[in-house]
């Protein structure tokens, strides 16, 4: 059965590659990137191991702990786990629970991130080439670490899946996820403080300063499940067998615990059907009763309704007011200048503007209604933009004013306003073209936030990088005027930047929507075919 599932996973992968050249390119790029990262880490480990294996081992412990923690936590928020072998699909076959568990655990290894994590984990064991006993311990530790990564990811996602299906919990979880970020500021300032005390020269060869900082951190992490497998060889190297046994014990116990949690959560998930919540109701026509009775008005009402009712939209909406809180806390705790407060509004504007860049992908195949009814490109594009504009402009203006006030930089307000509104307009304009041109897979309506559509990660990154590049280029003139205006500071230049920013935003928005409408009308059936291919 294990072999069956691995073969199934490989067949699915091969079929996916055969269906799309882009997926093949994505896989090759991901593999090249992974190979580069692994080479870098292994190379650093070998070099570091020759000069100072103990210190290098401590660095490996800290970095390794971060990797394990990342495996546990990142799928909850960002990409989700690959859903090609969704356990629920095996329900009809009556596979014994233990066999299914073993099979899924093994297939978890057959993915690009898993393979490169395993290669890197085994590779960094080369730190201990000078000490065969420690080397053996390091290889064992690496196996334990990889098991912890894969099983932990399965355990956390399966355990929290029912929770994250509901919108309210997910928004709470997003707030909770910010908390470690908030702790980052004090940690960084403590770290730099520690380095300063030791003369500040940070190189691995003359690593007094580094070891003074990394040593305690690694020692503490070695007692956690995340750091224990990586710290195992150091204990063996020191001949501290009791310590080594304790760390091995932590690893084995954690692996056992994750298997138990995963097994229990999976067993529960297999017998409780998805969804099954009470039927949602909304009296009256809502926004549909308030907009003008035109196709544009209809799309405005539908998009406004979706922003509030579809968790995929409302989650990103929840992010916008959270941003200022995060930035403020980061600044206050790390003691950096308050100048960054001025950037909060532009950042929020970027998130809002960029949020529409795959709107047709979010519609999924429901988009057929626009195709069948021959909805004009103008109506479709403006309909999607207007709700963001109506809610977004007051929001970012308030953020800009509040940011300038909190930073005590009222003089910078014109430049900040110009930048912010410019970014909003440029973002919405770029998105209007991008969503008619670059459609990439997103979770379908109602799908769990934990799943990621196959092959979506690469496409998402490419589309986002392209959109970011375009917005950046569009904003260059405003940035060229606005940054000197804020930094010098120059009031006159600030007003010029304000004008240029507003002009850029307005022109980019108008041109983007018009161009997007033309592309949309030309590609109407092709857009539907694209989203149908993802479904």
């Amino acid at each position: 059965m294990v072999a069956h599932l691995v073969r199934l996973r490989l067949t699915l992968l091969a079929n996916a590659l055969r269906r799309s050249v882009w997926r093949t390119i994505g896989l090759v790029l991901a593999a090249a990137y992974g190979a580069a990262v692994v080479t870098f880490f292994v190379g650093a480990a070998v070099v570091g191991g020759r000069t100072d294996p103990v210190l290098t081992g401590q660095v490996v412990t800290v970095v390794g702990a971060a990797v394990v923690l990342g495996w546990w936590v990142v799928p909850l928020f960002a990409y989700g786990l690959d859903a090609t072998l969704d356990p629920l699909r095996f329900v009809p076959y009556g596979i014994p629970h233990r066999t299914l568990l073993a099979g899924l655990a093994t297939t978890a290894l057959v993915s690009v991130p898993a393979i490169f994590t395993a290669l890197a984990a085994l590779g960094v064991a080369l730190v201990w080439t000078t000490d065969p006993a420690a080397l053996a311990a390091a290889l064992l530790g690496a196996v334990g670490a990889v098991a912890l990564c894969l099983l932990g990811a399965r355990a956390t996602t399966t355990l929290l899946a029912p929770l994250l299906e509901s919108r309210r919990y997910r928004e709470v979880l997003m707030v909770v996820a910010i908390v470690p970020l908030l702790g980052l500021g004090p940690f960084l300032s403590w770290l730099s403080g520690g380095l300063d005390k030791n003369g500040g020269s940070v190189t691995i060869t003359s690593g007094d300063g580094l070891s003074a900082v990394v040593g305690p951190v690694a020692a503490a992490l070695a007692w956690t499940p995340f750091g224990a497998p990586w710290a195992l060889p150091a204990a063996v190297h020191d001949g501290a067998w009791a310590l080594a046994a304790a760390r091995a014990g932590i690893v084995v116990a954690t692996v056992a615990l994750t298997v138990l949690v995963w097994s229990r959560a999976l067993a529960r998930a297999l017998v409780s059907p998805r969804g099954g919540t009470t039927a949602g109701r909304a009296a009256g026509l809502g926004w549909f009763g308030r907009v003008r009775a035109t196709p544009t008005g209809a799309v405005v009402a539908r998009c406004a309704t979706y922003w509030l009712r579809d968790p995929r939209y409302s989650a990103s909406l929840a992010l916008v007011p959270l941003l200022p809180a995060v930035v403020v806390t980061l600044l206050v705790s790390s003691g950096a200048g308050t100048g960054l407060l001025l950037a909060v509004a532009s950042l929020a504007a970027y998130i809002l503007g960029f949020g529409l860049s795959n709107d047709v992908g979010y519609d999924s195949t429901a988009f057929w209604l626009h195709v069948a009814s021959g909805t004009p490109g103008r109506a479709d594009r403006w309909g999607r933009v207007v709700p963001v504009l109506v809610a977004g402009v007051p929001l970012v203006v308030v953020l800009a004013v509040a940011g300038a006030g909190a930073a005590g930089r009222w003089d910078a307000l014109p430049a900040v306003l110009g930048l912010t509104l410019g970014v909003l307009g440029a973002g919405l304009g770029t998105s209007s073209v991008a969503s008619a041109r670059l459609v990439y897979p997103v979770p379908t309506p109602g799908q769990s936030a934990f799943t990621t559509p196959h092959g979506a990660a690469t496409a998402t990154i490419v589309a986002q990088a392209a959109a970011f590049g375009v917005i950046l280029v569009l904003m260059l003139p405003t940035l060229g005027l606005g940054l000197p205006a804020i930094l010098l500071p120059s009031a006159a230049l600030g007003w010029v930047a304000c004008g240029v920013g507003l002009g850029t935003g307005a022109v980019a928005l108008l041109v983007g929507v018009r161009w997007g409408a033309r592309v949309y009308e030309r590609r109407l059936p092709e857009l539907l075919s694209q989203v149908s291919a993802f479904a």
Partner: protein, 267 residues
Amino acid sequence: MIRVTQPTAPPDPGAALSLRGIWKRFGDRIAVSGVDLDVPAGSLLGLVGPNGAGKTTTLSMATGLLRPDAGTVHVHGTDLWASPDAAKRRLGVLPDGLRLFDRLTGAQLLTYAGLLRGLDRPTVAARTEDLLAAMDLTADRDTLVVDYSAGMTKKIALAGAMIHAPHVLVLDEPFEAVDPVSAANIRDILRRYVDDGGTVVVSSHVMDLVQRTCSHVAVIAGGHVLDAGTVEQVRAGQSLEDRFVELVGGRRETGGLEWLRTSSDSG
């Protein structure tokens, strides 16, 4: 008159829907290979065929949802792919296997469909009420479509296809998952619509239903139209089901799957 035409025959301007030489290829699989079909105005045509025959692909190309590789589609004489806006105004579409904007309530979804079609507000409001009543969905008007059952979803989508009073209704599997009472109501609605001069194309694989409901039938298999005409013409004295099996072939004599008998002692 409905007939299998030569690819060279010009589109019939009198037909409600006239397909000529429609082709569609997905990769190296040819889904539809040269479909010619005329749907006379005022007919209720059943499009029947085995699974994978190309019914959905043909109907998608006939309604503007999928661009054909070759061929033309005329809706009451208007070339669909040359002037899509004019042709789409006359078409009401119910696709199969595509989502709806299901975070809207039933009433909101119908309002959305009506406004997208450019209707004014009083018309949309009145027709929404009428359609909800006709589909027996008035009690669920404020429930999100995502929480509808499969049959209710089918009915709300059907209502959305009708809201702009199209000349031609193209419905892919409209009776699937719909309860018998609702199905009878929908059949009545469609018959009345045809009596008033409308034209309906429905796809189905329930031969009995087509024989009882439709005036015309077209049999499609392997991406071709095998036969088309009035139900009487096509079935030629047999039951439609027998005639269909005769045209399409592939019926097996009994035998095989002996192990499936629960009385056998292998289990």
